[in-house]
């Protein structure tokens, strides 16, 4: 499937904005504690909505990452992207001023883009007419602007684009960046995803699909992937950016390495606009392709970071897909969904989950699936219920599946020289 290449791709920096904290330390500590970032929705009045809960990034101060003028001309999703990129670059101790900007790329996924600005400006159109639409409206809403703004703020001049595959966007972005690094299109790529979908029209749309949890009375217990009583996903916002480098570049500058991106597979269900294909055939094939790309047999996988949305269909069908690939080993490998804690941040989810995998292989800890109480006969794997687990993690697989039938799978392994 892939061209031969000598370049290996390593992860050297992590930038996180999540409902359980900003920065990788806060994020990882909260995930291993099993802490929920879900609460009553505060970004707008949700009293008329079926779902009134969300995972909001509460302590985000844009002024810490952007100047006043840049803040005015960027949507929240792009601000998140820039912030996560700056955190990742800082974490990687990458001195951008000393690098050749042409060798540094940016690939950022986003499912929806600047929908908050879209809604605000649509109100302006209706209330004040077409001559009052902001000249910044278009540049603020287009989904590629997080990637564009990261280059504007940080200076990379290499390949720069956005991947849009709904809830698989973040994973596809990392996968595409990995492929470019392997074939020598860049030495360093800032890759990840960003999403800020907690706005009325998006919330109403997901509610209308009956995809969201309505466990409004117990926000922190609402996201319960693989549990028998799961009743839908909980929307959240966030951003995750990883500094990916060729091993040669990372070694030359003596970078700390969290892990290696070893494989990537993507397929399409070709089945339905939102429902997963009922047998999980193509999801399973994406996992197989990623493992083959990594040259790793399924029985050597130590951890699966599931897509695990907490919807009836996803969790059941993802479990089937895992069994198809792993056979008996499916019952031995720990499988967990951090969406139980941070909710579903759509286009950012795959990136935040890849970051969790990078931290798993570098620390030998697996984050739990919280709120797991009632086993479902159709979900009968080891979901790492409620408590983080310390165990050797040499190989982690991260699954991401998006509306439209997009399946993206990453293999992240411990760096072993």
């Amino acid at each position: 499937m892939l061209p031969e290449s000598k370049q290996r791709v390593v992860i050297t920096g992590l930038g996180v904005l999540s409902p359980v904290g900003i920065g990788k330390e806060a994020y990882w500590k909260a995930l291993l504690r099993g802490q929920s970032g879900i609460d009553r929705l505060t970004r707008f009045d949700s009293s008329l909505y079926d779902s009134k809960i969300a995972g909001e990034v509460k302590d985000f101060v844009p002024e810490q990452f952007l100047d006043r003028k840049e803040i005015r001309r960027t949507d929240r999703f792009a601000q998140f992207g820039v912030a996560a990129a700056k955190l990742a670059v800082g974490d990687a101790a990458l001195e951008l001023g000393e690098e050749d900007p042409e060798n540094i790329g940016v690939v950022i996924g986003s499912g929806i883009g600047g929908i908050e600005t879209l809604c605000e400006q649509h109100s302006v159109l209706l209330n004040k007419g077409p001559n009052r639409i902001s000249p910044f409206f278009i540049p603020m809403i287009i989904s590629n602007m997080a990637a564009g703004q990261i280059a504007i703020c940080l200076g990379p001049k290499g390949p720069n684009f956005t991947v849009v595959t709904a809830c698989a966007s973040g994973a596809n972005a990392i996968g595409e960046a990995y492929l470019m690094l392997r074939r020598g299109a860049a030495e360093v790529i800032l890759a990840g995803g960003t999403e800020t979908p907690i706005v009325p029209v998006a919330m109403a749309g997901f509610c209308s699909m009956k995809a969201m949890s309505t466990s409004n009375d117990e926000p922190q217990r609402a996201s319960r992937p693989f549990d028998k009583n799961r009743d839908g996903f909980v929307i959240s916002e966030g951003a995750g950016v990883l500094v990916l480098e060729t091993l040669g570049h990372a070694s030359a500058r003596g970078a700390r390495v969290y892990g290696e991106v070893a494989g990537y597979g993507c397929t399409a269900d070709g089945y339905h606009i939102s429902a997963p294909e009922p047998e999980g055939t193509e999801a399973a094939r994406a996992i197989r392709i990623a493992l083959e790309d990594a040259g790793i047999s399924p029985d050597r996988v130590d951890y699966i970071n599931a897509h695990g949305t907490s919807t009836e269909l996803n969790d059941k069908i993802e479990t089937m897909a895992i069994k198809k690939v792993f056979g008996d080993h499916a019952y031995k490998v720990p499988v967990s969904s951090i969406k139980s804690m941070i909710g579903h941040s759509l286009g950012a989810a795959g990136a935040l989950e890849a970051i969790a995998c990078a931290l798993s292989v570098s620390t030998d800890w697996v984050p739990p699936t919280i709120n797991y109480e009632q086993p479902d006969p159709e979900c009968d794997l080891d979901y790492v219920p409620n408590q983080a687990r310390q165990c050797p993690v040499r190989v982690a697989v991260s699954n991401s599946f998006g509306f439209g039938g997009h399946n993206a799978v990453l293999v992240i392994k411990k760096f072993e020289g």
């Binding site: 100047d67 003028k69 001559n131 902001s134 000249p135 910044f136």
Partner: protein
């Protein structure tokens, strides 16, 4: 708005500029050009829109193109409101 004097108009214009261009208040004088405050073409469009709305006036594109400094904007507003 006809009763606004020069100083009142200037102060309103200045507060819009400070907000939109992210500059300090003491960096905005009558003779300061928008270019010197790093305003790009989109900033100018937004600024003109805010002036129209604040002062209840219409600023046609031909007129807007000639408003290169804070002072010319203040003069235009004074003459047209």
């Amino acid at each position: 708005m006809a009763d606004l004097n020069d100083q009142a108009i200037f102060e309103k214009v200045r507060s819009i500029i400070v907000e939109q261009l992210g500059v300090e208040e003491n960096a905005v004088a009558l003779e300061t050009s928008f270019e010197a405050m790093n305003a790009d073409s989109l900033d100018i469009v937004e600024l003109i829109m805010a002036l129209e709305e604040t002062f209840g006036i219409e600023i046609p594109d031909e007129a807007a193109e000639k408003l290169l400094t804070v002072g010319t904007a203040v003069e235009y507003i004074k003459a047209n409101s």
